[in-house]
């Protein structure tokens, strides 16, 4: 093939295939995908890539091939440090290799690189076993929460917003409250897990090697204050009420859902409501109220 007749598109598709081929450069050259762009025997690589006096063309391609997975794996490890700690580096590396082949990076930003990792783990979960401790579920939950942390950290927040004040809330008459709907902060997330993964993640991110925790239903409210992601454990009752409010139900209907749930005794609920709303306002879980 003469120098300029091979078009750039073929060359780029060929090179991308070869350097990202999981089995290495030589297998990449042999692959159907690469052969369909540039049909080539391994021994003919020099007709595409030149050798230097110190390196063969294969070695030179190898530099890009090594860097491809190493770089992307490093980014994934930085986004999912607790998952690395739970799975171990080797297993995490193997899963990442699979992940990167199934979800090729397509975005201009590395922030999107790990976006589908929780989904990938879920889809590759081994068939359910009837044992009490489900290791894969634990891993998926870690991945899910670590990804939420990334999204909340760099997504829209409330740092520039005027927050709800006690005055605004006090201006609402008691009889108006059932009709009130709340606008949640854009950085607010409610999550439910089978394991206290938040503690595992915090320990792992501090560089400790945490023990795998006991299974324990864990409800978390996550938000961002002052550009730092905050998470707190909430009760199942709070979780239910907050999730109904997040869905857009008014306060009255949300409380009715909770009352019907058997999660709390009615008298206990009455006492807690005031305390909860006060705390949620201070924590800026919601940033506005509207009366219908």
């Amino acid at each position: 093939m003469s120098n300029e007749s091979r078009n750039l598109d073929q060359l780029q598709r060929w090179m991308q295939t070869v350097i990202s081929w999981p089995g290495g450069v030589e297998a990449g050259i042999d692959s159907e995908a690469a052969q369909s762009e540039i049909p080539l025997e391994r021994s003919e690589l020099e007709t595409v890539v030149t050798a230097s006096s110190r390196q063969t063309s294969l070695e030179r391609m190898g530099i890009y091939a090594n860097a491809y997975y190493a770089r992307l794996l490093e980014c994934l490890s930085e986004e999912y440090p607790a998952l690395v700690s739970a799975m171990g580096k080797t297993a995490f590396g193997a899963f990442s290799m699979e992940y990167l082949q199934e979800f090729h990076p397509t975005s201009y930003t590395l922030c999107d690189l790990g976006a589908h990792f929780p989904q990938f783990l879920t889809e590759h979960k081994p068939p359910a076993e009837e044992n009490e401790f489900n290791w894969t579920d634990f891993l998926i939950e870690i991945a899910t929460l670590e990804r939420v942390y990334s999204e909340v950290f760099d997504g829209p927040g409330i740092e520039q917003e005027t927050l709800l004040t006690a005055e605004v809330l006090n201006s609402i008459q008691p009889e108006e409250w059932p009709e009130v709907t709340l606008k949640m902060a854009p950085c607010f997330r409610l999550m439910q897990f089978q394991f206290p993964v938040h503690e595992f993640i915090s320990q792992a991110r501090k560089g400790n090697s945490p023990q795998v925790p006991e299974q324990q239903l864990t409800c978390l409210a996550i938000t961002r204050r002052n550009y730092i992601v905050r998470r707190e454990v909430v009760s199942q009752a709070e979780y239910l009420l907050l999730s109904k409010l997040q869905q857009g139900l008014n306060v009255g209907d949300a409380i009715t859902c909770l009352a019907e749930s058997d999660l709390m005794e009615p008298e206990e609920l009455g006492a807690k409501l005031h305390e909860w709303f006060k705390h949620w306002t201070t924590a800026a879980f919601f940033i506005d109220v509207s009366k219908q």
Binding site: N3, E4, R6, N7, L8, D9, L11, Q12, R13, M15, Q16, S20, E46, V48, V49, T50, S52, S53, R54, Q55, S57, E59, R60, M61, I63, Y64, N66, A67, Y68, A70, R71, L72, E74, C75, E78, E79, P81, P105, T106, S107, Y108, T109, L110, C111, L113, Y149, V152, F153, D154, G155, P156, G157, E159, I201, R205, R224, Y227, I228, V229, R231
Partner: protein, 309 residues
Amino acid sequence: MLKPRLGHENLGLGVGLRTVHFPHILEHQPEVDWFEIISENFMDSAGRPRHVLEQIADRYPVVMHGVSLSIGSTDPLNREYLKKLKTLAESINARWISDHVCWTGVAGRNTHDLLPIPYNENTLTHLVKRIRIVQDILERPLVLENPSSYLEFQDSTMSESEFVCRMAEEADCGLLLDVNNVYVSSVNHEFDPVKYIEMIPAERVVQCHLAGHTNCGTHLIDTHNGQVIDPVWNLFQLMHQRTGGVATLLEWDADIPPFPVVHAEVLKARKYMDENLPVRNQANLEETVTNPSSAAIPHPASFIVAEVE
């Protein structure tokens, strides 16, 4: 007649902005001339990275350096990306926008690497056309950097320096001359780095990059770690003599030391900025092979880790 630096200001000696240095910079407001940011790390940010950037842009001149434009790719240009680039540039008053003479992916993919293109008439036409489109969208000249590369193509019919010169002239764009990249590629591809620098149209050089690299014995890798070695400083000196001085920036991306160390490294450039000095002899300045067997990985972009309470 072109103005020096295409009319851009010589911003002095700057440092590449990295997240590990955020607290130091905000607290100490160091006397740095300017900062360069990795555009992609801030384009979509609505969190702390963006908040910190705004404070820094209030206090220091900022330049945007991208790694995903993929000007050499045969994929269509990403207009959404270009729009975001322009919006960010306007909001932080970026002095200019740069990226690399490379491609990063094809068929919708992004390898997150700066991949080399063959240097020939066809690819030159391809790049020139795309640079002009990008410049129309951004409404400003694009500044393109010579990348480090680890292979060359049989399809090349001209040297990189010839390609870069013709590209800059024909597309009427600016150049970011990375003297470390020139050095790295000159070792890898066995050309004379001095001739390369001598060939570059001096008045089109808007900015200069300095960095450390890793010597793997048979080749060099542009790892952006460690100090700038003497042969690279010599190339810098030559570049300085030819251009009369341009905004100069140190990139440090792996094993990043505390901010004052990085800053001190770029300030060493002052020693090489006396135009009357003769270019120093390179022959006795051999660099050491630091990492012959290591898997040194170039890192064009970095991932920003979330801060959680």
